[in-house]
């Protein structure tokens, strides 16, 4: 049955950007306030799933030509390799460090190695979630 989903499509086109922005905000705010890679990743994935709901699988795959399995794998690799980094520097596994840098546009910014780990977590969450949703719905019964 073809349903009339003009409203859904129009709105989701705008809302997707708001959700994506919110996801990035949650991800970046995660260091000293509630937030973080996991929920940031969840929100990012929900934006992609909303796109898929309002259009269809082919459109989403055409506009986002990524194999999300590889996104998840990349995320795990990133997260574990930050742990691996501390082995190279000879400090206990999963140690973190941070420093303040004076960047041109942002001013004094705190950069931490946790952010890399969290980016890995976020990528993993996005990759796994989207892969699961796609693989369940691929041959939609």
């Amino acid at each position: 049955m073809k349903i009339n989903d003009v409203i859904l499509r129009t709105i989701s086109r705008i809302v997707v950007f708001i959700i994506l922005t919110f996801g990035v905000y949650l991800f970046l705010s995660g260091h000293n306030t509630p937030g973080g890679g996991f929920i940031g990743g969840l929100v990012l994935a929900s934006a992609i799933i909303l796109l898929y709901l309002s259009t269809d699988l082919e459109t989403v795959q055409k506009s986002l030509p990524l194999d999300f399995k590889y996104v998840a794998a990349l995320g795990v690799f990133l997260a574990t390799s930050t742990g691996f980094g501390s082995i190279i520097f000879g400090v206990p596994f999963m140690s973190q460090t941070f420093a303040y840098f004076d960047l041109p546009i942002f001013g004094v910014t705190e950069l931490t190695t946790v952010t890399i780990f969290e980016a890995g977590v976020a990528l993993t969450v996005v990759g796994v979630l989207v892969t699961i949703i796609f693989s369940i719905s691929e041959d939609g019964g």
Partner: protein, 112 residues
């Protein structure tokens, strides 16, 4: 407050047990999902339901709550999410290949 939550956990476990004892795979999966919610609540309650700030450096001057149960629950949620997703796909494959969602028909063959 703890008593109330413990009673809620009891109800959830009862519901989940009922669901998991049925023969329908989807009901069993729902049962496992409810089970996991119940145990997350249990972890939270066993850690003690106290009011306080988030345990973050900026808010250090106020009394804060025990962060460990929440970290445990987050991990447990992620794991139960992955397992539930896997078992859903598995149930779907079983429905496609064997054509049933009734566990009685998934018994081992007689000659084995």
């Amino acid at each position: 407050m703890e008593t109330l939550i413990i009673m809620l956990i009891g109800i959830l476990v009862a519901v989940a047990t009922y669901l998991i004892l049925s023969r329908n795979i989807i009901r069993i999966i729902l049962g496992t999902a409810v089970f996991s919610h119940a145990v997350h609540l249990l972890i939270l309650t066993m850690g003690g339901l106290k009011q306080g700030n988030v345990p973050l450096l900026k808010e250090a001057n106020a009394p804060y709550t025990d962060a460990l149960p929440q970290a445990l629950i987050l991990t447990a949620i992620v794991i139960s999410f992955a397992v539930t997703a896997f078992i859903l796909v598995l149930a779907y494959r079983i429905y496609q290949d064997i054509g049933t969602d009734d566990l009685d028909e998934l018994r081992g063959a007689k000659d084995e």
